[in-house]
Amino acid sequence: MEDTPLIELRAISKFFGKVIALKDVSLTVRKGEVMCLLGDNGAGKSTLIKCLSGVHQPSKGDIYVDGEKTVFESPRDPLDRGIATVYQDLGLVPLMSITRNFFMGREPTRYPWPFRIFDEERANQIATEKMLEIGIDIRDPGQAVGTLSGGERQTVAIAKAIYFGAKVLILDEPTSALGVHQASVVLKIIVNAAEAGLGVILITHNVHHAYPVGNRFTVLNRGTSLGTYEKAELPREKLLSMMAGGEELEQLEIELKEMNKKN
């Protein structure tokens, strides 16, 4: 993993008027690794993703893609460079079929105009194949996305991003709305994607979800980075306590113990 990072952020800052949303945050993602971005609500995770996906432009600092300094002016730019963001709402239409969602905006067609039609047969086949490749065997590509479980929906969005040429996958809280089982399925898929050679940025506030799958961890707290750690040098407990609220919880525990003693 000594090659050039797929994406490198160098000392990114973002200000909204007087508010400092991010200050000097650096981050790298390499091929085949899962980079976890952890932080509590309001730590600046969303702002950082928005800088990465071209929604915001950083106020200070530079973004390097494949070692080359890049400015993202619109959400289109990162997509063209193979950086796909899967937002929490996934951008899927519940009333439309898996296939139609999968190919939304990029439908394969057949026959020359004016008889050109959406090649649903081929689309169904590709969607089923690609879902299977990252580890989900879908029952029927024609079924409405609304009938899928949360984990399966997440998988559709991820498979779609990979199929359309993503090299870097930015996942915004993919497990936050999921139950234990569904979350583990999605985490497994994230590992599969990294094994297939993608760089994954996993954004979450859940240490228990991040720790098993992450290779490296960056913790954000109140807009600043608490540092980036390799998994080997970071026991789970340390990561937990680094998260904003970790100390507060310890403090709470102590206070509760004291209260119990008094009673």
């Binding site: 709402d89 905006g105 959406f118 299977l132 989900i136 009938t147």
Partner: protein, 374 residues
């Protein structure tokens, strides 16, 4: 890397014990036009029993209610496609009146040929659609409000222009222009005349004193309706553009992020409703030989009713052209059929209202079935 690795949780999901085999019937139950199909069968059965021997289902009766249904169907299909993309057009009725006088005034007062005014009017319709569409999409205002404004603007302009130029609210005497115009046959024509003459000869149609059947042929608007129905269904289900229509209505933001040109899609469909209204107006003007500023009243709501009865959801993303067509047929059948039953036709609107309520309740149920996990 092992590409075929499957996550245990979903492995062989087709044989998952939580998944039932879904029969063809159940799949059919999830189609949007199912309710309208049931409704249409019910309506036909009802009138078959109540008014079966009153001549409603004679060739003459069928042609009568199909003509009414087809005219409404032309605008209903366009309205349904727009509704699937998540927008309304309340200016359809006013557009019908406006297009009518746009065709009639230049013929009577400027001496333009009919074919030319028809082409110009269609261009005006595209401009109206562009205006509605651009304003709705660019401002983010609800199309309900934008086109409500357009409803008043067009209706007002229709009356003001017509009275300003002619001093009246009606422009009669267009029959003689229509009779010799090369475009008339597209909008007003009788098809299958041989078949209808044969119907007359075997007594299915009564004959005029001159030996010709009372209706010489199938009105061409029925053909228009059928062609449009086929074309719209093809677009919706078989083309890329159709997928964009559903996506725009289902989640405009998600669709935009996925690269769907939502603005373009919606503007085209706004132009579609305006053009459908113009086609409606053209047929009516040539048929009646006149234009009238009061034409098309409430047609926007009738079109929406037909679409909703046909399974379109009000917030978009779901619906079908076939459903809207069936909705229009129900509408036309009931509006004509009520005269055959002897029921006071004043009750027609009460029935309509009830029908809309039932349809919306049914659609709600269907949507829940489709979106909620099985």
């Amino acid at each position: 890397m092992n590409k075929q690795k499957t996550v245990s949780g979903f492995k062989g999901a087709s044989s998952d014990e939580r998944v039932r085999k879904v029969s063809r019937l159940r799949t059919l139950l999830n189609r949007p036009e199912l309710g309208a199909l049931g409704g249409a069968i019910l309506v036909f059965a009802f009138f078959g029993i109540i008014a079966g021997d009153s001549g409603m289902f004679s060739v003459l009766g069928i042609v009568n209610f199909m003509e009414v249904s087809s005219l409404l169907g032309i605008v209903a299909i366009a309205a349904a496609m727009l509704m699937i993309s998540g927008e309304f057009d309340l200016s359809i009725g006013s557009m019908i009146a406006f297009a009518g006088v746009c065709i009639a005034i230049p013929i009577t007062y400027f001496g333009w040929p009919l074919w030319f005014t028809i082409i110009v009017t269609f261009e005006i319709a595209i401009l109206v659609g562009l205006f509605n569409g651009l304003l709705t999409v660019k401002t983010g205002l609800p199309s309900f409000i934008v086109t409500l404004a357009m409803l008043f603007i067009l209706r007002g302009a229709t009356v003001a222009l017509t009275r300003g130029i002619s001093g009246r609210t009606q422009i009669p005497g267009l029959k003689k222009f229509a009779a010799e115009d090369p475009l008339t046959f597209i909008f007003f024509n009788d098809m299958f005349e041989g078949l209808f003459t044969w119907f007359g000869s075997i007594g299915w149609l009564s004959l005029r004193p001159n030996g010709l059947p009372v209706i010489p042929g199938l009105p061409v608007c029925v053909i228009w309706f059928a062609v449009l129905l086929f074309f719209a269904t093809w677009i919706l289900l078989k083309t890329k553009f159709g997928n964009w229509i559903f996506a725009s209505g289902g989640d405009a933001n998600g669709a935009r992020n996925a690269g769907v040109p939502v603005t373009f899609v919606k503007i085209i469909l706004f132009c579609g409703t305006a053009c459908a209204a113009t086609a409606y107006a053209t047929i009516q003007v040539i048929d009646a030989g006149s234009a009238d500023t009061a034409r098309g009243l409430l047609k926007e709501f009738e079109a929406i009713i037909a679409s909703v009865v046909g399974g379109c959801l009000l917030h978009g993303g779901y619906g079908s052209a076939i459903g809207a067509g069936l909705g229009a047929i129900i509408f036309g059948t009931v509006s004509m059929g009520i005269y055959y039953t002897g029921v006071d036709s004043d009750w027609f609107k009460v029935f309509l209202g009830l029908m809309v309520l039932v349809a919306v309740l049914f659609n709600n149920f269907i949507r829940k079935r489709v979106t909620e996990s099985r």
